[in-house]
Amino acid sequence: MNTVAVKHWIWRDTLGVYLREAGFQFWGLVRMPGFALPTLLFPTMFYVFFGLVFAKGGDRQVATYMLATYGTFGIMAPALFGFGVGVAMEREHGILALKRVAPMPPMAYLFAKAAMAMLFALIIVLLLFVLGAAFGGVALPRSEWWLLAVTLVAGTLPFCALGLAVGVRVGGQASAALINLIYLPMSFLSGLWVPLQFFPHWLQELAKVFPAYHLGQIALGIVHQDGGDFLAHLIYLLIFTAVCLGFAQHGWRRIQDR
């Protein structure tokens, strides 16, 4: 006879699964130079060029403005690529099927991916903060540094949802192309690279379609640049996230049944 199972599955085992999954994802991303380097380098490089070097005579106003917008630009990448390309690749390679056969709670997988997006977002935000404070003369009350950091890290969530909606539908190679097509034009058209007031009026209006615009406006509001109505931006982002999750769930159901 087999020994009767005396060990029972308890919450600590579930917690362990979540943490191991997150750790596994972390090392996977760190060891993939194609992910870690561009996501950390691009926003910091752009910020150094456009926010610090080209800003006339170390204009503190510009450096502060661009800290908010390049921060928004930066935190989108790990969410969009981690979910969009990561899920698509793992689905294509049969890893997702393997995980579904193994007794892994599906939420552990999503949690790990979201945690990684937020962790990388935090690293990007801290890099930009250091650069801005050291070389751009950015000076904010401590509470606003904190608020900006929390907002930008939490702000990854709508883009996680968008990435997931893409990743559950599109193949591995196509998803990388599609995410780039979403990420770069949306960043530009949302005024994250060049302030919107330099745009023609109709483009300023178009920007309101994009979630990146709304997160950027919230971030700008925190650093006392004109950000508009905080609540309206927040509501837009919540609705956007819900819609993306709806699409993602529909796609997820389809891949459940091979």
Binding site: R20, F24, W27, R31, H93, G94, L98, A102, P103, Q256
Partner: protein, 306 residues
Amino acid sequence: MPDKHVTRTTIAALKGVSKCYGQVTAVDCMNLEIRRGEVLALLGPNGAGKTTSVNLLLGLAWPTSGAVELFGLPPRKVAARRRIGAMLQDAQFGGHARVGEIIALYSGYYLKPLALAETLRLAGLEDLEGRPAVKLSGGQKQRLMFALAVCGDPELLFLDEPTVGLDVESRRAFWNSIRALKQAGRSIVLTTHYLEEADALADRIVVIGRGRVIAAGTPAEIKQSVARRHIRCITRLKAAQVCMLPGVSGVLQDGARLDIVAARPESVLFEMLKLDPALHDLEVTGARLEEAFLALTNNHREEQAA
């Protein structure tokens, strides 16, 4: 050959399950039982519905109609999945994660996993613990997948075409691992289109063709159910002439020899010797499993066409 481990307890079953993809019926009203302790081989040509059957049992595909049970539960319940392990076709790790890390991650999903060293030993990966998955050879990747299937010490293992693409030596080593698991009382479902493999490993073979169970039984029973013998000899009789004899199901002229297929070679030979007493170089051989299998799937096709 009865085995002390095999019992009559059903631990997994397809009950009148059909699975359609659009117009295509991949699995057609299939009934299948897996008994505790047995090695069950699902045997059939490519596209017969073996993998779909396994996917249905694993909860990776949902039945269009019928019911699937895994330890008395729907297969998508975590409680059921904690008791199984699976090796899927064409799953592969492409990333930089190391062999040991991947196994540790999957072990953690289970209640009572094997120790890492034990899993590595079972899968023959002792020397590769620190190697990134992306740098493994084809056979080593296959062994990693096997390690993930056994790491949770599951009661029931699904192995979907586990030895495809392995060289002869690796395949033999793999067979030994499967036999060892069986000796340890594990139940195993194995899909294969290598007939030799089913014959060598299985307690029971279920032959599948076009999404249906065509035949089921021990390897010996399967072979017997399509008893066919070959008679090879040199004779002055013409192929067309032999073809007319009762009990002959096929004749082939092979150089100077005739190759005659018959269910009961004795009566055919008796007739032939009456017609040609000078018949010589006689040889009678039994059918191999491969032929039995082909005969089964062909008969089935003819029945369907009729």
